[in-house]
């Protein structure tokens, strides 16, 4: 039988409680497809108990879930997760280790590649079998180009969240409990500061409503929050807005902020500077609301609303609530 494929199933942590990230199901979907082509099994490592997460993994093509006890820190810490993942890699000898290209996942996958000498492709948006290994596509130059990269097996690949839709492929559950190897203590958690308001993680959101300087001031941000609520969206901001102190940096989309690839990105009062586009141009569909018909954002938008955000956004939110029902 071919070497198995291993996914690291990332969990959310902290105040939000422990739930399986959708990116884990995306990884499971990609792994299932590759495993079917190779006649291999898909094994998922769950870094803490999460019964609903386990069930979802079995629904999405995972043959076996290996569950570890929660880390002593109670949340992701590279010092704890890297030895845990390395021990399972050692035990299973997988042809491929697939991790989400979240901040934690990028750090973890690169560390694993460093420790094992496996080839690494970071931030892939697609993955296919190739002679002796895999062929990945990944955005480079802030999404201004797409590279095709071959990597020999055994490999480590991080997969950009939202790039591949999870596909159901139910499997008979097989579950094992695994131990946590002793972890280093060189990194310790001093403090966790929860976000001021409950925020949906931008990089994993399906729909994002972002605002720019065109909103006119922080006192008008309610327009963005309200539209986001009506669309069930996360909310982001341009750098101009963050630099002006209207919004926290964690919400910034762009070259020096977050790279997002939602299904739908709604840019409101954002001009569409190249550095902003760098963070959102891989969105599936872009809607722009801007009073200037010449604004560069319209060049990357699929739908354009020329108008004043102060009139358009409340109307948009109202129509969306009627159309979609209360979010």
């Amino acid at each position: 039988m071919a070497d198995p494929l291993l996914i690291y199933a990332e969990l959310t942590q902290g105040a939000a409680g422990r739930t399986l990230k959708r990116s884990a199901l995306e990884a499971a979907t990609v792994a299932r497809r590759l495993a079917d082509a190779a006649g291999a099994r898909v094994v998922a490592l769950l870094p803490a108990p999460c019964p609903e997460g386990e069930a979802a993994l079995f629904e999405h093509g995972v043959d076996e879930v290996r569950v570890a006890p929660a880390s002593p820190a109670g949340r992701y810490l590279l010092e704890h997760e890297a030895p845990l993942l390395a021990a399972q890699v050692e035990a299973l000898g997988p042809a491929l280790v697939l991790v989400a290209a979240s901040p934690a996942g990028k750090e973890l996958s690169a560390t694993l590649a460093g420790h094992t000498g496996r080839g690494l492709v970071a931030d892939a948006v697609d993955l296919a079998p190739a002679p002796g290994g895999y062929e990945a596509t990944k955005p480079v130059l802030a999404g201004k180009a797409v590279a095709t990269v071959r990597v020999g097996a055994p490999a480590v690949v991080s997969l950009r969240p939202n790039a591949v839709p999870p596909a159901p492929a139910p499997r008979a559950p097989a579950r094992a409990e695994v131990a946590r190897p002793p972890a280093g203590d060189r990194v310790r958690l001093r403090e966790v500061v929860p976000a001021a308001e409950k925020r949906r993680e931008l990089t994993e959101a399906d729909v994002i409503v972002s605002g720019g300087r065109g909103l006119g001031g922080p006192e008008h941000w309610g327009l963005i929050l309200d539209l986001a609520q009506a669309l069930g969206a996360a909310h982001g901001a341009s750098r101009a807005v963050v630099d002006a102190g209207w919004r926290p940096h964690a919400e910034q989309v762009g070259q020096t902020g977050k790279t997002v690839s939602p299904k739908l990105y709604v840019a409101c009062g954002i001009s569409g500077a190249i550095q902003h586009l760098a963070g959102m141009s891989s969105s599936k569909v872009v809607v722009a609301v801007n009073k200037d018909p010449e604004a560069p954002i319209f060049r990357v938008a699929d739908f354009g609303v020329v108008g004043d955000v102060h009139q358009v956004l409340p109307l948009f939110a109202q129509v969306a609530r009627e159309f979609l029902g209360p979010a």
Partner: protein, 254 residues
């Protein structure tokens, strides 16, 4: 608490200017470099700045900058020296290297140096891997914290802030360690004329480096698929309802 004097290494990469209009070279794998400007990767510049600030806070210490890259990358090292770094190490290597090759070369070159801290950018803005920092830490056997938006040093401990899943965590990391710079870490200074003059006399060691075999190969580079034509939506209830219908039923994104 006072900042102790540190021996810091900052890894920086020569990358194409982020404003560059990308064209694919005739080989179909790399970008066409004709007329392209190069810069220090933006996050690496932030890392240099924070290293300099820590040295200034301590009133002592040493900031070494390192790059792996072609002869021409001397220019970026000189820019970092002009910002205020003390000395530079250039591992001269032509052609494409992947993150693992780069990290292996850096690890080999610095393993025997007496260092307290290695800073990298969170990612080089060409291949966007965000991998060299953690790879390097793995090679050196040091702890690593990626995506730091604040970094201070207290005694033998680095205190690092970063954001994970929308929460901000404060981590204490035993030195020596590798930390990668996220936006917010520091705003890079512009080198003054004095800095530029001084940089010419600062030590810059340059030596050829032989990378280990690559485990990855870039086989193609393409421009992203163009978007379809823009559809205009009237800013009325009717227009917006039409938009929502198209988003849900045609594009299937709602």
């Amino acid at each position: 608490m006072t900042t102790p004097p540190l021996k810091t290494l900052v890894c920086l990469k020569r990358v194409v200017d982020t404003e560059t209009r990308v064209r694919v070279a005739p080989d179909g794998r790399e970008i066409d470099l004709a007329g392209v400007q190069f810069i220090i990767a933006p996050y690496d510049e932030m890392a240099v700045e924070r290293a300099l600030q820590l040295r200034e806070a301590a009133g002592d210490g040493r900031v070494t900058v390192l790059t792996v890259g072609p002869e021409a990358a001397t220019k970026e090292l000189r820019s970092a020296l002009a910002m205020g770094a003390d000395d530079a190490l250039h591992l001269v290597c032509d052609g494409r290297l992947d993150a693992a090759q780069t990290a292996a070369l850096i690890a080999e070159a610095v393993r025997d140096r007496d260092l307290d801290l290695v800073l990298c950018g969170k990612q080089a803005t060409d291949d966007d891997d965000a991998a060299v920092g953690p790879l390097l830490a793995a090679h050196l056997g040091w702890p690593c914290v990626a995506f730091a938006h604040a970094l201070d040093v207290e005694g033998r401990t680095a205190v690092v802030r970063r954001e994970l899943d929308g929460e901000s965590e404060v981590l204490e990391v035993a030195l020596p360690a590798v930390v990668t710079a996220q936006k917010g870490l520091a705003e890079p200074r512009y080198p003054g004329l004095k800095g530029i003059m001084a940089a010419k006399k600062k030590p810059l060691e340059s030596r050829r480096a032989e990378p280990p075999a690559a485990r990855t190969e870039r086989v193609a580079l393409a421009l992203p698929p163009a978007r379809g034509a823009l559809r205009t939506v009237e800013p009325t209830a009717e227009g917006l309802r039409g938009l929502l219908t198209a988003l849900r039923d045609e594009k299937k994104v709602l």
